[in-house]
């Protein structure tokens, strides 16, 4: 299939449809409006349903209901809207339902800005709402990768009965890049025997619920979730390693920022300094082992994390490296996207220090 030049948001919406998503519930917020707009045009033509909800809160609860009925369903939003969805996401995690949530991060806290940011890393990777749960969080760094990850997102949601988040910055959503929609081999997925479809007496009644009033029943549910998270950590880590072999400095970054780091690495290379990049594609589960292995190379002297945040992923980096070698952070909270030149300067300066 020929490549198409597509805006990230539209490509993500199309990829979701191609992955079998037929239900979308959302609410307008910049910079992700191209997703609901695309869905509103396409869904009626393919027998799906797009519904503009009265609020983010309602939208995620519509997702909850559609997922309970067994549908492939998705919502998208941007940071302030994703905060509103957290109640519903916690319920979806507790009720063990599959769905996909897309967050096109913008600057915060509060109303913040509409420019790109990575300030929602904690919210996305540590659960986000109340209770002990995780989402699988996928962080694309190009439009093509966002498209490819959408298929993974829906499959992972179905396999592990968990909400999956596509966490992108506003750049991914607004940027146009060439994309190809590949045929994906459909994995064999577990049957949704738990869905509410109407009880005809031929199976136990389906009850979609996250209430376990007895302590030991709630414990059992939590144990089940934790066992699942452990399995996800073992099986589903995705990470890109770029020029890490023999590197003196390792940069760790995700999303669009990782690409700016690649430009910075080229600038360092021109000055004779070998710098590599570890780019988590799943930021939960975080590629701890992979990062540790890269850092253990004798050539590596230090690590530098780069984010559009005050250093959120940096905490996971520090946990993974666990004092093995020095670590540093470069970035600012809010919406300031660092330039390749600034990152390169920081790498070179830190190296000499």
């Amino acid at each position: 299939m020929a490549k198409k030049l597509m805006k990230g948001c539209e490509a993500i919406a199309e990829a979701a449809i191609q992955a079998g998503c037929r239900f979308f519930f959302g609410y307008p917020i910049t910079p992700q409006n191209d997703i609901p707009e695309y869905m509103s045009a396409r869904m009626p033509k393919i027998g799906g349903c797009f519904l503009q909800a009265e609020s983010e809160v309602a939208a995620i609860n519509m997702v909850y209901g559609a997922a309970a009925a067994g549908a492939r369903v998705m919502t998208s939003s941007s940071s302030p809207g994703v905060s509103l969805k957290q109640e519903g996401i916690s319920y979806i995690a507790g009720a063990e339902l599959p769905c996909v949530v897309c967050n096109m991060m913008r600057g915060g806290p509060g109303l913040g800005s509409i420019q790109p940011s990575q300030g929602d890393y904690f919210q996305a990777t540590k659960g986000g709402g109340h209770g002990d749960y995780h989402l699988i969080v996928l962080a694309p760094s190009s439009v093509q990768e966002a498209v490819d990850l959408m298929h993974n997102a829906f499959d992972l949601a179905d396999i592990y009965r968990t909400p999956v988040m596509l966490l992108a910055d506003g750049i991914i959503g607004q940027m146009m890049e060439p994309v190809e929609f590949h045929e994906h081999e459909q994995k064999e997925l577990p049957a949704k025997t738990w869905a509410v479809t109407g009880w005809k007496g031929d199976r136990p009644r389906s009850i979609v619920n996250s209430l376990y009033i007895e302590v030991d029943e709630l414990q059992e549910m939590n144990d089940r979730l934790q066992a699942r998270y452990k399995e996800i950590q073992e099986k589903e880590v995705m990470v890109e390693q770029y020029k890490t072999e023999g590197a003196e400095v390792i940069v760790c970054a995700y999303g669009t920022v990782a690409r700016i780091c690649k430009s910075a690495i080229a600038l360092c290379e021109a000055k004779g300094v070998k710098v590599g990049l570890v780019r988590p594609i799943t930021i939960w589960p975080f590629p701890e082992k992979e990062l540790r292995a890269v850092m253990a190379q004798p050539s590596v002297k230090r690590e530098i994390t780069v984010e559009i945040s005050a250093g959120q992923m940096h905490e996971d980096v520090r946990l993974a490296i666990n004092g093995m070698k020095p670590v540093d952070f470069y970035g600012k909270p809010g919406s300031y996207t660092p330039t390749a030149e600034e990152i390169a300067d920081y790498i070179l300066k830190t190296r000499e220090a």
Partner: protein, 247 residues
């Protein structure tokens, strides 16, 4: 021996947790009987609330979804849109529907969502221990209005049925009470009509049921039934508020 009463199979055999004199048990039975009589048990999905009816999924012998507080109409929307052939109803109390879920119920009606809502108005938060609801009457003492509801401070009680009836997408809205046998019979007829409205694809339907909460009202079951009649019905008039099921 002649059978004079038989429990509907749409209620499970689980013993209900409701307090003596609580109206929930009556309304559960009416809803279940209606589902049986309409022959829709095998395609009905119940959305139960956060509130005293939180365990509704143990009692209704249909597929059930437990919704977050106030969000049942949104969640029910998701399910109904996936499987329009399902009969989807929400069962919600006054804290759930009239307070935290006010937006969700208004917009389910506004979209003309083809679902049915059974709204239990007992003028109080039951499960959390008797706090003031939007439907608490003026002067009524609750654990968060210990001197009686003061309209200067927190307004006058919200009349949900009348409010929903003003919305174009609402096809059928009625207020009933379960304080006495004749009213219980009328309540069942209203619930049946509301489900029929959904089966016929007419639009959103809601039945507001004035119900008792003797525990939190500090009354005996008999006094509670009397209070519905003496204090609630005068402020919340019974009757059909909207009916375009014949259109």
């Amino acid at each position: 021996m002649t059978t004079v009463f038989k429990k509907t199979p749409v209620l499970t055999d689980t013993i209900m947790h409701y307090c003596p004199g609580c109206g929930h048990g009556i309304v559960h039975r009416l809803v279940a009987e209606v589902i049986e009589e309409l022959g829709i048990q095998d395609r009905t999905i119940a959305f139960v609330p956060v509130g005293c009816a939180v365990f509704g999924y143990k009692y209704f012998a249909v597929d059930c979804v437990e919704a977050a507080h106030g969000r049942a109409p949104a969640a029910a929307t998701g399910t109904k849109r996936v499987n329009p052939n399902n009969i989807v109803f929400t069962y919600q109390g006054d804290g759930d529907l009239a307070s935290i879920g006010a937006a969700e119920i208004v917009h389910a009606a506004h979209r003309g969502e083809k679902i049915t809502t059974i709204f239990i108005n007992n003028a109080i938060y039951g499960m959390t221990g008797g706090q003031m609801a939007p439907t608490t009457l003026v002067g009524q003492k609750t654990t968060t209005s210990p001197y009686g509801r003061d309209p200067e401070h927190c307004g006058k009680p919200l009349r949900v049925a009348e409010m929903i009836a003003t919305i174009e997408g609402a096809a059928y809205v009625e207020r009933v009470a379960v304080d006495c046998t004749p009213n219980i019979i009328k309540a069942k007829a209203a619930i049946k009509k509301a489900f029929q409205c959904q089966i016929d694809g007419k639009g959103f339907s809601l039945v507001e049921v004035l119900s008792s909460c003797p525990t939190n009202w500090g009354k005996s079951p008999a006094e509670a039934m009397d209070w519905i009649k003496s204090d609630m019905i005068p402020y919340y008039p019974l009757g059909v508020k909207k009916d375009r099921t014949n259109e």
